[in-house]
């Protein structure tokens, strides 16, 4: 009889232990791209286990969905996509995962780029224009200000999925955004402005008023970070292989004179290469951005006729062992372009 009472007494203890274990259980987050994994890790800290499906060296448009990916997603609590028709292959993975939590319309599925101001929304949607993205250019993460929004979106979703740890996610979001702001504007400027400095500077930068606003307040000498480094190449014209850099170039004051691809997704035909050579020589364009996953043949050919520098670019976290954070992706691009612009 006594042993039965003892067993009964164990029940609440077991329930309590179960609750404790549940509270300690990490959210499993599967992301399509590696920059999303990085943001999830920054915001989710030790409350999440995040994994990215794409190989960071790969063209994010052309990832082959495989059973391994489907199985990874089969027990995910959250599936995070870039959206904007970039990682279209994600739908195959979500469908084949058999995981009801991450199907569209559920809290466990999210498009991370919601609320990001999109560029290059096509006025005419037709395949005659190549592989265009009907919802706008999807390479939004190459503008650090957009990554702030993406991090907010991810934090909001983590808070909904794991409300007991809301404060934790909010605090980590703040820290991540502070780090981005310091990398973008420099620590001195942030300190000089004081409260809500990041929010104010981000809005001014987004409205193209930052320079004037800082000058009016005699704060322009305190600007540092990526934006200060980017002043070395402000106004420089360049070519890119694909329409990858509109967000990056708009943010850091570069001008894109055109793309090597005649139309998105279609390698440059010979006659288009010649037209580019003529344009580059005429406008004295000396930089070609060539994503690591595209062939360098066209870039090298054009460079040989124009004395241009071909900058091999990496746009994903982890594309090389050295570029293992989002901040390093942007630093790499800024440094390499500055070097090529000399």
């Amino acid at each position: 009889m006594h042993s039965q009472y003892r067993a009964l007494a164990l029940v609440p203890l077991l329930l309590l232990a179960n609750q404790v274990l549940d509270a300690q259980k990490k959210l499993k987050v599967v992301t399509t791209l590696n920059y999303l994994r990085y943001i999830v890790e920054q915001v989710g800290g030790d409350k999440v286990d995040a994994i990215a499906l794409a190989n960071p060296k790969q063209d994010p448009h052309y990832v082959t969905p495989t059973p391994r990916m489907n199985q990874l997603a089969s027990d995910a609590d959250l599936f995070v996509e870039n959206g904007i028709n970039l990682d279209l292959w994600a739908k195959n993975v979500v469908d084949a995962s058999g995981n009801p939590k991450i199907q569209r319309g559920n809290l466990g599925q999210m498009t991370a780029t919601i609320n990001v101001p999109l560029k290059e929304l096509p006025l005419e949607v037709s395949r005659a224009w190549g592989d265009i993205h009907p919802q706008g250019n999807p390479h939004v993460w190459l503008d650090p200000l957009n990554v702030r929004i993406i991090a907010e979106n991810i934090a909001e979703r983590l808070k909904k999925l794991d409300s007991p740890n809301s404060d934790y996610y909010e605090s980590r979001l703040g820290s991540f955004q502070d780090r981005l702001d310091i990398a973008m504007f420099g620590e001195d400027l942030i300190k000089a402005i004081g409260a809500k400095a990041g929010d104010i500077l981000v809005r001014k930068a987004r409205n193209d008023e930052l320079g004037e606003w800082l000058k009016a307040r005699k704060l322009d000498s305190k600007l540092a970070g990526w934006l200060r480094d980017a002043e070395k190449f402000k106004g420089v014209k360049l070519m890119s292989y694909h329409k990858t850099y509109i967000y990056f170039c708009d943010r850091f004051g570069l001008q894109i004179a055109g793309e090597l691809e005649e139309k998105p997704g279609i390698p440059p035909p010979p006659q288009h290469r010649d037209a580019i050579v003529e344009l580059m020589n005429k406008e004295r364009i000396r930089i070609i951005l060539n994503d690591n996953f595209y062939s360098r043949d066209a870039s090298d050919y054009i460079a040989s006729k124009t004395n241009a520098n071909v900058v091999v670019t990496y746009i994903e976290v982890g594309a090389t062992p050295e570029i293992d954070t989002y901040e390093k992706v942007i630093s790499y691009l800024v440094d390499e372009i500055a070097q090529a612009a000399k």
Binding site: T64, Q71, W89, N99, L121, G130, G265
Partner: protein, 438 residues
């Protein structure tokens, strides 16, 4: 002054919302205007915030600013949501058309599988497939692929190539055991790999002989062939002891008698299909699939089929659009037992298979070859062999030209054919991985 500006800004916000609701269905230009307007508002808000930082204007002012901030955020979200949608058509199924045209030139007279239609030395609009798919509700998605197929030059037939609902979850079952997906309807059965591909996705112009002869065909391997019964398919992951690999299983119950090997021996009993697929993927560069499939049906005459398949795909991480390699093969062993007109038990045990290679030379150009051998299901003593070589030229993933040579040899004759094929894909094509990387 600050309060007046606040009032103006809040009033402007209200006005903006009504403008937004009126412009909801317009093109993206009004959205851009809206975004610019919101941007201006943001700017005003920043000026007010700065004024607050410098001078301070009390709790009421701060609350006003917060309200304005929230209002702006709401507007930004709405504009973003609208710019991502496309008005009333969003609930229509995504529609894609696949159109395949092929011509052949032969050294001999060629008849289709029925032996009635002459098909040598002429062009054919082999198939037009219309692919519709959309979510049904939060629990299911539906796919209907309607094929208008050439009847070997004698006319066209309209057939549901595939039409099924895919159950993703149920209100009473929030999580599926083993990641199970359930497909109900008519679908290309999980017997090997090739049978699941549609004609427009094939790396060759003709179906492998074993697929058309063992699984199904109406007019022969030059026309759409394969096995697509009506039934139910359960697709799930199995616990797997081999690290780094994925083990999946399909278990199907389908209408019997439709497999070519069963020669129309339909019964009231269902047929059963099982498939195990073991796969491994290294950085999305090297992918290997090893599969085993089985089919069985009972009744007065019984049919069973066992198949093995192996596929290896390679595509580098960098320059992925320009280089790839695929090698694979499938082999099937059939068994069909029936009574002949004298009530004697006859058992046929034919087997057949094929192997192939394909290499991508550039973004546009693929070359490859295939070897087939197969015993006739009705008479194992008759064997057919085939060698074929192809070059495929893609302008994009939506338009492909293919030129091929095929030599088919059996105990009676040697048939040499030159095949030319053009494939068009248009519409909002579903996100299927087209064959290797297109």
């Amino acid at each position: 002054m600050v309060r007046t500006s606040l009032c103006i800004a809040v009033a402007f916000c209200g006005m903006m919302e009504s403008v937004y609701s009126q412009e909801k269905d317009a093109t993206s230009v009004p959205y851009d205007d809206l975004k610019k307007e919101i941007s201006l508002l943001r700017s005003k808000l920043d000026s007010l915030t700065s004024a607050q930082i410098v001078t301070g204007f009390g709790v009421a002012g701060e609350e006003g600013l917060e309200r304005l901030e929230k209002r702006l955020q709401e507007l930004e979200r709405k504009v973003d949501a609208v710019s991502r949608s496309t008005a009333a058509i969003v609930f229509n199924p995504r529609t894609t058309a696949f159109m395949n045209v092929a011509a052949r030139s032969d050294n001999l007279k060629v008849l289709d599988a029925t032996g009635e239609a002459k098909i040598d030395n002429r062009p054919f609009l082999r198939t037009i497939e219309l692919d519709f798919r959309a979510p049904v509700d939060p629990y299911a998605e539906a796919v209907a692929i309607i094929a208008i197929e050439d009847e070997a030059g004698t006319g066209f037939a309209i057939d549901p190539e595939e039409a099924y609902g895919l159950l993703k979850r149920l209100p009473i079952l929030e999580s599926a055991p083993l990641g199970m997906k359930v497909k109900i309807g008519k679908f290309r059965a999980p017997l090997g790999v090739n049978n699941r591909l549609h004609m427009h996705d094939l790396p060759w112009t003709t179906r492998p002989l074993v697929v058309s002869k063992f699984l199904g065909t109406e007019h022969g391997e030059f026309f759409e062939s394969g096995y697509n019964p009506v039934g139910i398919d359960f697709d799930f992951f199995l616990p797997n002891p081999i690290p780094g690999t994925t083990l999946e299983m399909n278990a199907d119950i389908v209408k019997s008698g439709e497999l070519a090997l069963s020669q129309g021996g339909e019964t009231d009993q269902p047929a059963f299909i099982g498939r195990l697929n073991l796969s491994a993927d290294w950085n999305n560069e090297h992918i290997v699939f090893l599969g085993a499939s089985g089919y069985t049906e009972g009744g007065p005459s019984s049919t069973s089929l066992f198949g093995l398949d192996l596929t290896y795909k390679w595509a580098p991480s960098e320059r992925r659009a320009a280089r790839s390699f695929v090698a694979g093969g499938e082999i099937f062993f059939g068994r069909h037992t029936f009574e002949d007109t004298s009530f004697a038990q006859i058992t046929r045990k034919p087997y057949g298979g094929f192997g192939y290679l394909q290499y991508q030379l550039s973004y546009w150009l693929y070359v490859g070859g295939r070897y087939d051998w197969v015993q006739e299901p009705a008479d194992e003593t008759i064997t057919s062999r085939s060698w074929s070589f192809y070059a495929s030229y893609y302008t994009t993933e939506f338009l492909r030209f293919r030129l091929g040579f095929e030599r088919q040899q059996n105990d009676i004759q040697n048939l040499n054919s030159v095949l030319l094929e053009v494939n068009f894909v248009f519409g909002s094509h579903p996100t299927e991985p087209y064959w290797v990387n297109r």
